[in-house]
Amino acid sequence: MNAWLPIAVVASSLVTGIVIFFLPEHRRGVRSLLNIAGALLKLFFVGWMAVGMIRGETYESRFSIILGFDFLLKADPLAMLLVGLSSVLWLLTTIYAIGYLEGWKNRSRFFGFFSFCVTASVGVALAGNPITFFIFYEFLTLSTYPLVVHRGTDEALRAGRTYLWYTMAGGALVFVGTVWLHVLVGSVDFTEAGVLRFMDASLYPQFSIIFFILIAGLGVKAALVPLHGWLPVAMVAPAPVSALLHAVAVVKAGAFGIVRVVYDLYGVAFADARGLLTPLMLAAGFTIVYGSVRALTQDDLKRRLAFSTVSQVSYIALGVSMLGPLATIGGLVHLVHQGLMKITLFFCAGIFAETVHVKKISAMNGIGRRFPWTMGAFTIGALGMIGVPPVAGFVSKWHLGLGALGSGNGLVILVLLASTALNAGYFLPILYRAWFRDPDGPWDEHMPVRRAEAPLLLLVPCIITAALSLAAGLLAGSEWSPLALARIIASREYVP
């Protein structure tokens, strides 16, 4: 049974996706039911796995494909971090998407690929070796492309092309790195505290080259500058897709890949000793500042959020690139925290765009009065991004700061401070406009609204994710919080 649970976690959305593809377009009810059922089922499997792991069970599925490489799915605490995030947010995003796509064409296609996308994301998390990781990493590219171009407009297709060139090129680099590694050391599994340090020292120079190839490949999806160009462009996608791309699936796959490579392939101590981490830290630091600066000048709300993502995701890489448990904890926990907060923000942006066609920040004057709940959620997300306690973002930044001090990287403190100031600089004006300015005129209503300020299918997931962001910060000390999980992982990555 233990060998089948990881498969079940992956398959729950894969099978759903395949079935949905073959559903006729008009079977809306069946499709929604399938979507929700698949999401709940996945959540159930993940919960089962989590409970089992606490009791000391191990979950591993291994299949030999060819020539000494295995297809390996393995649940370790690090995997659980992303699996948990993906499966919770998938449920919420699905509900949101059902409401959002009301009246669109080609919904079977959309939800089919949507399910594939989550399958790929969970697969990336559970992948137990570089090859399996690569398989899901590419699968993610393929399943997100149709979502990005879903609107079928010229603009969407152009964005899709950009997205594709970036991610395929990134995938190609990961491929090269993976093959090269396989040539040198055969099939290696991701192992806590790293595995390459046990290899023949004559291979170390090649390991260094492979490290940069892999990080460059993963950096595309993690949107490290200068590989981030696809992300703002991909904003043409429907809001649930943007939410998914930015919060859960794509950028997280990249960031998670970096985590895996540094910790479970090279080992953070080994990578540090080889001098591999400093370039990564510089890239991450630069990205954080650069993304924030670019975000300042965007008037389009989704574009501002996109550049914010560029900046925020690199906190994860930043945490990874410093030696020391506190930095590790900060980076890892941000993986979850950034997901929760950013998905809230995108949900809100989607509500504004769909109900009253507000897409520009300059048009958001007084929007808080029309959408008190939505704007409330947005405020929580934004404050979290800035790092205001007690929202989750504070916890990440706090640990990152402590980690930077502990590892003697004073420059990083500066980066964090600058970033916080910039975050405030581009989020506070939005909050000010929304809450304290008067509306410019009557709202341009586009969706029939009965009781609430917005369709409940859109509003409820948004409020839940806001609440989760708040809870993750408030209850950070509890043993079920993301922080607690990140602590466990960090403690295991630093065994000598």
């Binding site: 020539l67 000494g68 296609r109 699968f139 092309r161 594709l164 995938g171 090269v176």
Partner: protein, 498 residues
């Protein structure tokens, strides 16, 4: 005496004569039956290879060097399998495709499609089973004439020009090959591949034979820069024919090249020759992809993609000729990967060309800009094209991925790492033109667009889909196929267990 082997040679040819002679209305149906029998017999040979190892048969009962030896080892078996799958689905597709060809010139084309196709199928079997150099020459000519006959079926000025060009190159290629055969006979006094493998040594004559035979076969395989005849021929023929040509015919001459380089010429080839071929492969990938990206017509795009994809087959040669010190392990791996590429490209490309036929039926044209809205009209076909694209791009879990993995592994492992740039870059370029193609289908139709006129038969869509699915499936079930491929040690290496 081996019944399946004899049958697999006789059945398609007998079927060809039968459909040539029977009345029009029976031809299609009889072809379907013959296809089933032929594929069944080919699978019979494969089964025997799997059970007993290499299957031998002495044509005429004399045995080499007097007679002609026939043999099926793992490499033959894989190719027979490929031909059976592609051939069967193609016959099914053609059964419906040619229904609309019912008057005048088109009826004539339909009438002769069936015998030409079965002759071609039989010749492919003869090719994969032959163990004699001169016999292979005759088979090459059979394949060439059957293929050209298929190209010119419709008799339009386009196909006639393309067919003429194809014929010239094919014949020059055969003559070049034949000169090599003659030289080898003059040197060693035998035409039998098995004996020549043992006899051949490095000397000027053998090297000259190697050069002329390789060049001749490369012409027929359409390897850049000898590829110029291929795009017009493959693009102007009818859809089933294009599928056949790209999937099977060009692989035939490559198969002989493989046999020669791993057998007779194993000690003759020099690193310089290998590198030259590798460079041709790199050029093919760049040039073919570049041309594919520029095309406005779907079939031209797919045809140029074939030019590019054939380039991947060439990286085997620098590894074979260049890195003997690795104990053969990487040569073996490269060979496996290359044959896997042959296989997965055959399935994916056949599927693509069949889909292109459906697109042409539905949209009334194969211009990319007329494909707008097809994603809604023919979702299954567009899905098929995407699936085939996954295999061509070499993405997991398709057969193309296994091929790319093996080739990349061999390239890096043998120290000739620079080829990786083309192996990986070629995948990116493939993605570029595949999405160019799909993009057109996903565009919304606009008000000024003409109606999409044609209806397509679901069976044709399923045939194309089945090929694309097979292309993915061989990625998932790779271990079994690779085991079959290695029966009888066709590549002559015993290198490590990679």
């Amino acid at each position: 005496m081996n019944a399946a082997l004899q049958g697999s040679l006789l059945a398609p040819f007998a079927g060809a004569l039968l459909v040539l002679l029977v009345p029009e209305k029976l031809k299609a149906r009889i072809t379907l039956v013959v296809s089933l029998v032929t594929a069944g017999l080919a699978l019979g040979v494969v089964r025997e290879v799997m059970r007993d190892g290499v299957v031998h048969e002495r044509a005429g009962g004399w045995g080499a060097p007097l007679g002609i030896d026939l043999a099926a080892d793992g490499l033959s078996a894989i190719h027979l399998l490929m031909t059976a799958v592609v051939g069967l689905l193609l016959s099914l597709y053609a059964f419906y495709y040619f229904r609309s060809y019912d008057d005048g010139r088109k009826a004539r084309a339909r009438s002769l499609f069936w015998p030409f196709w079965l002759m071609l199928w039989g010749s492919m079997h003869a090719l994969f089973l032959s163990g004699d150099l001169f016999n292979l020459y005759v088979v090459l000519e059979l394949i060439g004439l059957a293929a050209i006959g298929l190209v010119i079926l419709t008799g339009s000025r386009e196909v006639l020009g393309a067919g003429m060009r194809y014929l010239m190159v094919a014949m020059a290629g055969s003559m070049s090959y034949l000169l090599g055969v003659v030289l080898l006979y003059g040197m060693y006094g035998t035409l039998d591949l098995g004996s020549l493998n043992a006899l051949a040594e490095a000397n000027p004559l053998t090297r000259a034979a190697c050069v002329v035979m390789t060049v001749g076969l490369l012409m027929k395989t359409a390897v850049f820069p000898l590829h110029f005849w291929l795009p017009p021929a493959h693009a102007s023929a009818t859809a089933p024919v294009s599928a056949l040509l790209s999937a099977l015919v060009v692989k035939g001459s490559f198969y002989i090249l493989l046999r020669l380089w791993f057998g007779v010429f194993a000690d003759v080839v020099t690193p310089a020759m290998g590198w030259l071929l590798g460079a041709m492969g790199a050029g093919a990938i760049l040039w073919g992809s570049y041309q594919a990206l520029r095309q406005a017509r779907l079939k031209m795009l797919i045809a140029h993609s074939t030019v590019a994809q054939l380039g991947y087959l060439m990286f085997l040669f620098p590894i074979v000729a260049g890195a003997m010190d690795a104990g053969g392990a990487y040569q073996l791996e490269a060979a496996k990967g290359t044959v896997y590429h042959v296989l997965s490209h055959a399935l994916a490309k056949a599927s693509l060309f069949l889909s292109a036929g459906l697109v042409m039926t539905a949209a009334g044209s194969d211009r990319l800009r007329d494909m707008r809205g097809l994603a809604e009209r023919l979702p299954l076909t567009i899905f098929t094209m995407a699936l085939a694209g996954v295999s061509l791009m070499g993405l997991p879990p398709s057969g193309g991925f296994i091929a790319k993995w093996l080739i990349a592994h061999a390239v890096l492992g043998s120290g000739q790492w620079w080829w990786i740039v083309f192996v990986v870059g070629g995948g990116l370029l493939t993605a570029g033109y595949m999405f160019l193609m799909l993009r057109s289908a996903f565009l919304e139709r606009q008000d000024g667009d003409p109606d999409l006129p044609g209806r397509v038969s679901p069976a044709m869509e399923y045939a194309a889909l089945a090929l694309a699915l097979a292309g993915v499936l061989i990625g998932i079930r790779a271990a079994g196929l690779l085991d079959i491929m290695m029966i009888g040690n066709p590549f002559g290496f015993t290198g490590g267990g990679l």
